[in-house]
Symmetry: C2
Subunit: 293 residues, 2 copies
């Protein structure tokens, strides 16, 4: 019998649900605004009642509990988002649909999608950094999702400040961590409220942005030695950032490590908005295969 | 027939070679000063001629080439150490002893030893940081050695400076990276040449040291989410650092992430000088088992 795989990319502003055939061709896809669980999840449940699947992959906004030994495995944990804190996402799904599940973060599924079908196809490792309203990062190491006691929170790496940067940073926990200095709100606040897409491409502020993102690449390189660092998210649609990041990375690394060719190392995502759903479907397929063994 | 496993912990000042029975009990062990390959390696070859093994695990000082797709896989690469740059370590071993090999860094084998038999026993992930004459880091993720295009070089993470620290750092590539600010020579230079073990335990310089090491722990946590961060090396024998690092980590994290209990998260190594050899033997055993399948 032919298989069907399901995907839920659960973002902070919208959910995307999809169902695919066994070759991962998407047959149906819907978008649902992220409001409160009673509303959003009811649409999710309806979608999978109408589109039964043999396995479902979920990539969720976080923080989430990915620790299989934990009592709250499968929960969204401490989000300020109304109604979602301590929401038993995976449990509520399992109650309704008794199938194998994959459960990880929205950025880990994007990393996985890019590794298997996108920019990092054919590699065993990569990092996926999304720079938008926030900064998140996921990764794959030795072909497997990067997780440990929990999941990465790469937006909160501590930064050495750029000497010209007077902006204090907006992270409520760390002020000037990576997210506090480089996410969309930081770019705009540093530029006195001008929208990021209205800041001239040759403005010095982009050098500052590139400096921090390159510093993150440097730290990720010396910690993880990934085969590729892939950028997604709104801010990284500023294409002028890429040559600037590579240049700044080279300066900061200062010849210490031989990395892959920087034009192929610090790159834009290839799958765009499909990275997450692709990763979810791949993980669903793997879970279904594991369950069949 | 009973198996024998071999281990080479190749350090910058000494090599340790060992042979074990099939339960990894060490039967014989020698230390060889690290001089030039013609001298040091001849002793290594002699040891394994006299003590034939079914597989050998090697953890080497670096940088080394761990990329199996590379022409120089198995080489020590760019070290300033006389005679060792571009030395085909693994190739020279294979010429003489036709057995399965494991090949990784000295800190990765220590991480692996601590994970399987030491402080992190029973876990799937950890980081091992050695703080001594230099700073090195290795790791295990999902039970496997942390590698990608190459191996980690955690000593070169970029640091936010402590506001009281006037010392410029001694890393020839990055000046004030983690190694440049926290390795033994940095501790002593910051304290006007006083030997680390002679600096009073309550001196403010230890607060500075703990701040940087805690910052490294913070970055490692948000990137890797390891289940444990283990410290080894001479500087980390300063036991007063541990409570200070935990306190500083807590301040720097500022409640953002729920980590494991810090007393069990930021810890001293359990195997001491045996971590490396233990990791080498475990990896040799795994290679032998793979080869037998």
């Amino acid at each position: 019998m032919t298989k069907r795989y399901g995907a839920i990319e659960a973002g902070g502003t919208k959910f995307v649900c999809a169902v695919s055939d066994e070759n991962l061709n998407v047959l149906k896809r819907i978008k649902i605004p992220t409001t409160i669980p009673a509303e959003t999840m009811n649409e999710v449940f309806k979608f999978f009642e109408e589109n039964p699947c043999d396995a479902i992959g979920i990539g969720s906004f976080g923080p989430i509990d990915v620790n299989r030994n934990s009592d709250t495995y499968g929960y969204i944990t401490t989000t300020p988002k109304e109604g979602w804190a301590n929401y038993d996402f995976l449990g509520e799904m399992k109650k309704r649909f008794d199938v194998p599940y994959a459960w990880t973060t929205d950025v880990n599924v994007a990393a996985y999608g890019e590794l298997k079908r996108g920019a990092a196809k054919g590699l065993d490792s990569c990092v996926y950094l999304t720079v938008g309203t926030g900064v998140g990062g996921g990764g794959v190491v030795n072909g497997k999702l990067l997780e440990g006691f929990g999941h990465p929170e790469m937006g909160h790496m501590i930064m050495r400040r750029h000497p010209d940067d007077k902006y204090e940073g907006h992270c409520p926990y760390h002020k000037d961590c990576l997210e506090g200095l480089t996410a969309g709100p930081a770019v705009e606040a540093r530029h006195h409220g001008v929208k990021a897409y209205e800041i001239p491409k040759d403005d010095h502020d982009w050098e500052i942005e590139a400096y921090y993102l390159a510093q993150a690449c440097m730290d990720l390189t010396v910690v993880l030695s990934p085969e590729m660092i892939i950028f997604g998210g709104g801010v990284s649609k500023q294409e002028q950032l890429f040559p600037m990041m590579r240049e700044s990375f080279k300066k900061q690394m200062n010849g210490y490590l031989k990395t892959p060719d920087l034009n192929k190392y610090i790159v834009h995502c290839a799958l765009g908005d499909d990275a997450g759903i692709t990763g979810c479907l791949l993980l669903a397929q793997e879970e279904a295969e594991k369950a069949n063994k």
